[in-house]
Symmetry: C2
Amino acid sequence: MKEKGILVVVSGFSGSGKGTIMKQLLEEHPSTYALSISATTRIPRPGECHGKEYFFVSREEFEQMIHKKALIEYAQYVDNYYGTPKDYVVEKLEQGKDVILEIEIQGALKVKKAYPDTLLLFVSPPSAQELKNRLINRGTEEEAVIASRLSRAWQEAQGIEQYDYFVINDDLEECVQEVHSIIQNEHARAARNCELIETIRAELKSFAKGE
Amino acid sequence: MKEKGILVVVSGFSGSGKGTIMKQLLEEHPSTYALSISATTRIPRPGECHGKEYFFVSREEFEQMIHKKALIEYAQYVDNYYGTPKDYVVEKLEQGKDVILEIEIQGALKVKKAYPDTLLLFVSPPSAQELKNRLINRGTEEEAVIASRLSRAWQEAQGIEQYDYFVINDDLEECVQEVHSIIQNEHARAARNCELIETIRAELKSFAKGE
């Protein structure tokens, strides 16, 4: 029997590089991971495809999903809903894939509450100064936008202690490797191997009795 | 400042190969790990050196160590004491080394109680049948000894769920690599990085205020 996959939530400051890390992780290990696709009521931007970047749904459809408890978590930003459809995640977990949800901290903590064996990873640059530098060096953001992102980062930083791992993204390749090994090692958690432990124990008992 | 090391307890069934794993781990990463050396009141066997296999001490010396709380844990088997001297462990942890204690399950749980951030690893063969085969294939043990080891293994198997990781030793090289990466990933635990998180948070706050 194939082992069930692990639900992994990855969060991180804007500018932490978490999007790039996830992209690379999926490219390097396509049969190990599945990326959860969010549902949203916002309009697709040019080039975005339904079922790739997002499942684009109407407000009515989204509210129906809420009503049917078909979402693992959801939130409203400005005038749009964003949420994680449950069916897709459950299906991939059953197939033995480790499913990655890239969501922000409030959603992450909701998921952990509903599914306590979720693995929570927080990706951070090595320092706040480095985060600021990265935002500035993008060159696309106005000063006010950068200030607002840093302010948001500070607000987000309130819940980090509730994450399982705090991963520093200093070197991209090393960070991808670290995230991969953290997730794969999680399969060896004693708490995730109760059935196997019980099987070995029962067998040992029969041997000890000379059966 | 060099990061403090992690205290790691490794246990496993007799025949699990944990001794070989630890030896190889130390050989491959001599500057990363230190192996804790136990104190004992038993007589050295031919070839055993004081300060290498064990610290060989008198019964009086050992009881003095108990009295002075100089041991992390200790136990009595048959007529001899065995214990883990605290000074050596603390010194190596302060140097930033990850210190490995190879002790059995009762001692391991005592250590975890006294030092809750201890990492507990349990090494197991892939199955009880494989454990039995390995004991038989050693060819050095009588049937009664094998039965008693299996019986002891069953007794030990009672506490495994309290370990952090349950590591299967199927292929030695892979297992050494897995143990190494489990221990090294542990440094990225959010709970072990509270100071760093707090530093980043404080810096973000000052940026967000435009300081």
